[in-house]
């Protein structure tokens, strides 16, 4: 059983790690370390970073939806795996050689890292910010501690796992009921109980129970990433309810205007958009923006928390047109700033490919109506495949850089 759970985790955790690294890359941390990088002291841990693409437009929705939903699915597998090896924790003497002592130390990092990563991720998406400091720091550096121990553990145990998997036929086990379940023969690792109690559940039963747990968590969470009528099925997920506001702005909100301290007066008649970067700053009213060529793009909002919306029809001015207007035809990047006074994501830097994509907009309308306050009225950025928090809301200042 340990080997079955182990092999599922081996694949699952590698996928979690890769999608996690991709999510970090999606923030373009090296583009503007002071603004985009939540872990600016990453050093060599950012060795793999690359410019995040804008194609396909659903890329981040997919990678982050997989990251979060798969995390839930693996919870029962992780618990079962730890349950199956718990006798090793109470082994006596604790170590018979320096090698064993060191390996057990690495297991502390492995188990601590695993539970730490799952706990911080699961707590963060429920908007329960009780952990010390920035979630991004904890989850990113915690992941590297965990993966270091994970790699060593896989290197040591993969042969044991393969041998154990080969020793039993899955077909036979799936046909064996509790009455015919025999205990494991004693193993060299002393994991098997020398005096087992009579079995109360078959191996297929134990696998089925864990599988049912994964399936249940999947069913009750995946709807918040797929959307549509499935959203209502995400009974326990934070974004499983319909917003219920009705109308064109009735789709999920990450942080409302009230939460971020943005007042309707700030977004009203007196609102101005300032474009900087060229020889002289340009200041535009909403009416002037609406007089510029308008473009419509069908794009989702995809949050780092794993939930997302279906495509919404955003209408506004192309970012590349705004760059032209600012006087910079060949922008290297743009710093977008919000009316929000505080918060880690009151500003974001966008890369050249994100500015030049024809579907990248400063949106003024969504689904044919002006943006609501909660969706960033009067103007917000929307860029294909961009993480939600980088689609800055309540935009007031854009600084284009060559």
């Amino acid at each position: 059983l340990t080997s079955v759970f182990g092999s599922v985790l081996l694949v699952g955790i590698v996928v979690l790690f890769i999608t996690g690294l991709l999510s970090y890359a999606a923030y373009n941390p090296n583009l503007d370390v002071a603004v985009n990088d939540t872990t600016p002291d990453k050093g060599i841990l950012g060795f793999y970073l690359f410019e995040w693409p804008t194609h396909p437009y659903w890329l981040y929705r997919l990678t982050q939806g997989v990251h979060v939903t798969l995390g839930f699915v693996l919870v029962p597998v992780l618990l079962a795996k730890l349950w199956s090896v718990i006798p090793k924790l109470f082994e006596w003497p604790p170590a018979r050689s320096p090698a064993q002592l060191l390996e057990r130390l690495s297991l502390l990092l492995l188990v601590g890292g695993a539970v730490f990563e799952f706990a911080t991720g699961i707590i963060n998406i429920q908007i329960w910010y009780v952990f010390p400091g920035s979630f991004y720091r904890l989850h990113f550096y915690g992941a590297w501690v965990f993966m270091a121990a994970f790699a060593a553990h896989v290197a040591f145990k993969i042969r044991t796992m393969v041998t154990a998997l080969r020793a039993r036929s899955l077909r036979v086990e799936l046909r064996t009921d509790t009455a015919h379940t025999e205990p494991e023969p004693l193993d060299p690792d002393h994991l098997v109980s020398p005096a087992p109690a009579p079995p109360t559940i078959s191996r297929r039963g134990a696998l089925g129970m864990v599988g049912a747990g994964s399936l249940l968590l999947l069913l009750l969470a995946v709807g918040q990433s797929i959307g549509g009528s499935l959203r209502r099925l995400a009974l326990l997920a934070p974004h499983g309810q319909d917003l219920g506001s009705g109308g064109p702005n009735d789709f999920q909100v990450n942080k409302t205007a009230a939460d971020r301290g943005v007042l309707p007066e700030q977004a009203g008649q007196n609102w101005r958009l300032t474009l900087r970067g060229g020889p002289t700053p340009r200041v535009l009213t909403r009416t002037q923006l609406l007089a510029l060529p308008q473009h419509t793009a069908h794009l989702p909002i995809a949050c780092v928390e794993g939930w997302s919306t279906e495509n919404q029809a955003w209408t506004g001015v192309r970012l590349r047109d705004l760059a032209q207007l600012a006087g910079i035809a060949e922008p290297h990047s743009v710093l977008v700033e919000s009316l929000e006074q505080t918060g880690a994501f009151r500003s974001a830097a966008l890369a050249r490919n994100q500015i030049l994509n024809p579907d990248s907009l400063l949106a003024l309308e969504v689904n044919g109506a002006p943006l609501s306050m909660d969706h960033g009225s009067p103007a917000r950025v929307i860029v294909p495949a961009n993480p939600g928090v980088h689609n800055t809301k309540w935009v007031t200042l854009m600084t284009f850089r060559r």
Binding site: L82, Y141, A148, T178, M209, A212, K255, D259
Partner: protein
């Protein structure tokens, strides 16, 4: 060389892999704890202790206690082993609680303001799913009982001997 290997207790590659592991882990850990080092360490160690010494013993004790408490039931008719009809719904309901307890218990105060969604439905959703699981399990038990009583004791199959 052989003496060192004998003293260490494993292949030198084992040591090399562990040193690599600790080097990378230390590099990341220094950054992990660079703000609020004590609280972060408490969280990290708390994760191990919370799981290994709290959660796991608790559910193990519960798993053992249930049959012990309910053991001496008279069984005048043929019956089936009932423990898994209790264990499975309890496990599934508990699993949902462990994952979603912050929302179920309305701990994230910022949730309604941030998302413009109601914090209320999670408790009732969890209770409803839990109830559904127990009802399903009861039906499954009743069904198994009927099957069992409809036909005589099946002959026990030959025991399968498998190498580990």
């Amino acid at each position: 060389m052989n003496r060192i290997v004998g003293w260490y207790g494993a292949n030198p590659l084992h040591l090399l892999a562990l040193l690599g592991c600790f080097a990378l882990a230390a590099y990341a850990a220094v950054r992990l704890v660079s703000f609020q080092p004590i609280t972060v360490a408490v969280w990290f160690l708390g994760a191990v202790i919370g799981h290994d010494l709290l959660l796991l013993p608790l559910y193990s004790v519960a798993d053992r206690a249930i049959p012990a408490i309910l053991r001496h039931q008279p069984t005048p008719m043929p019956t089936v082993a009932w423990i898994n009809y209790v264990r499975v719904p309890a496990f599934l309901s508990g699993l949902l609680f462990i994952v979603w307890f912050p929302l179920i218990l309305r701990l994230p105060a910022e949730y309604p303001l941030a998302t413009a969604l109601s914090p209320k439905p999670f408790l009732s959703h969890w209770l409803a799913v839990t109830a559904a699981l127990w009802i399903l399990s009861a039906f499954a038990f009743a069904f198994a009982l009927r099957l069992r009583r409809a036909r005589p004791e099946p002959p026990r199959r030959r025991h399968l001997h498998q190498p580990g």
